[in-house]
Symmetry: C2
DNA sequence: CATAGTATGTACGCTAGCGCACAAAATACC
DNA sequence: GGTATTTTGTGCGCTAGCGTACATACTATG
């Protein structure tokens, strides 16, 4: 058990940003659930019976191609919500959603969220605003995939993950990171080796400890900053609601 | 002048999908405008005073990195709308929007669209549904960038562009295509050369003619199909509105 | 504490795509 | 109709990342 209750809904930043009255209306329907590593919440083309507001878990949105290759297109942590496609009226997406870091999250019946969304108030504005941030993240991933080195992408991915976990350590094999980034495991071994030599991280069989966060930030590409700023902006704007 | 009036709003498939009453409300505010190649509609971080419903033009959403490299993340043709970020409440995006194929489109004051969107009726549902399709397109671009060859990507791009133009020919230099895909111009020369040898396309200084569309479809990666099906689904669903 | 299973390190040849340089062809413009 | 400009073709050598294979280390489990 990586982290344990007591949990509060406001450990998810979206829920925390809701006006008290709005939160009150859904609070009793929020169920705290533990989400084990590797759990598949939604397959390609499948429907999502629940939406999830992560508190300590991180969910990965990714594609699996016909030849078995895969790529993450975005992550969803305590800054977000899994289930945007539902709100968009899509019923399904071509992407998968799996638990990348075990932890907790609140789930809510999809129909209930939809109902709240359709009231058109602060919840709607907040979720749309989050959708915008998600689009930015996906777009930046697209560009990063094209133009940046594995090492840069690894740094981006580590930083984004650390931000979500609010921690210096993460439990994660190189194999798993590789499948997220859609590269070879050996590519990660090499990039991580360099970072370790530079004393930026320490790697021990499924555990990465960040020794020098500033160092990571000098090795990362601009993509991290763009995404981070977009999330910051989201929660800055959201105070107005 | 690549194509000329008389134009009708319903040449844009989103506008065409609107119930008559809804369309009536905005019709008088829709302005037909010609959009010349290369026109920059929105810079990174800039605001969009108008939204655009393309009829014969195609708009490219793309990023420009610090080192000057660029990549398209999605295209917007007569199936869509430029200005989703506005609806999402974002005020701006890190992406650029430029005219990739000259032509016509209808523009509408941003504030007016927002007002209509906030009524919450069919227009809202339609635009959200389109957002979903746009997200799919961006996601698929991300994955395609990672895993598929230039030739496959060129085919994808050509097919998507042809679908939007409803034509066998397009006016487009290799240099421009390269900057869309975020690859070298020489890479496009090579890939296009192969397709030409296979008698699938004919290339003549800025003009591509597709001789064998089925041939293109055998060379393309699965990404084209995913995006196309998503657009088809959008307009199938939309009839219910 | 021995062993099976899993995670990581390393090596090697291969290929796609890059960066650069320049030639050839097509078009626009005076 | 001749010249400048743009577009396309081609030929390097180079590098990042791939696929494969295998060795080494860690750790869980009995």
């Amino acid at each position: 058990m990586p982290s344990s209750p007591p949990h509060q809904p406001d450990q998810n930043r979206l829920l925390a940003a809701l006006p008290a009255i709005e939160l009150e209306r859904i609070k009793s329907h929020l169920e705290l659930v533990h989400m084990p590593l590797g759990d598949v919440l939604c397959e390609s083309g499948g429907r999502l019976p629940y939406v999830y507001f992560p508190t300590s878990t991180i969910i990965s949105l990714h594609y699996i191609l016909e030849n078995g290759a895969s790529s993450e297109i975005a992550g969803v942590g305590n800054e977000g919500l899994l289930g945007i496609s539902l709100i968009m009226g899509g019923e399904s997406t071509p992407s998968w959603a799996t638990v990348q870091t075990a932890g907790y999250g609140y789930r809510l019946k999809a129909s209930l969220l939809l109902q709240e969304f359709n009231r058109g108030g602060p919840i709607q504005r907040l979720l749309l605003r989050y959708t915008q941030a998600l689009i930015t993240q996906i777009s930046q991933t697209a560009v990063c995939n094209r133009h940046h080195t594995i090492e840069q992408q690894l740094c981006r991915w580590l930083l984004l993950t650390l931000d979500r976990l609010n921690s210096q350590e993460l439990v994660m094999t190189q194999e798993l990171i590789a499948s997220m980034l859609g590269v070879r495991r050996e590519g990660i071994t090499e990039a991580a080796g360099k970072l370790q030599q530079a004393e930026i991280i320490r790697y021990r069989r499924g555990h990465i400890t960040v020794l020098d966060r500033a160092g990571l930030e000098t090795h990362v590409c601009e993509c991290y900053d763009v995404v981070k700023k977009e999330f910051d902006r989201l929660f800055r704007d959201v105070r107005k609601y």
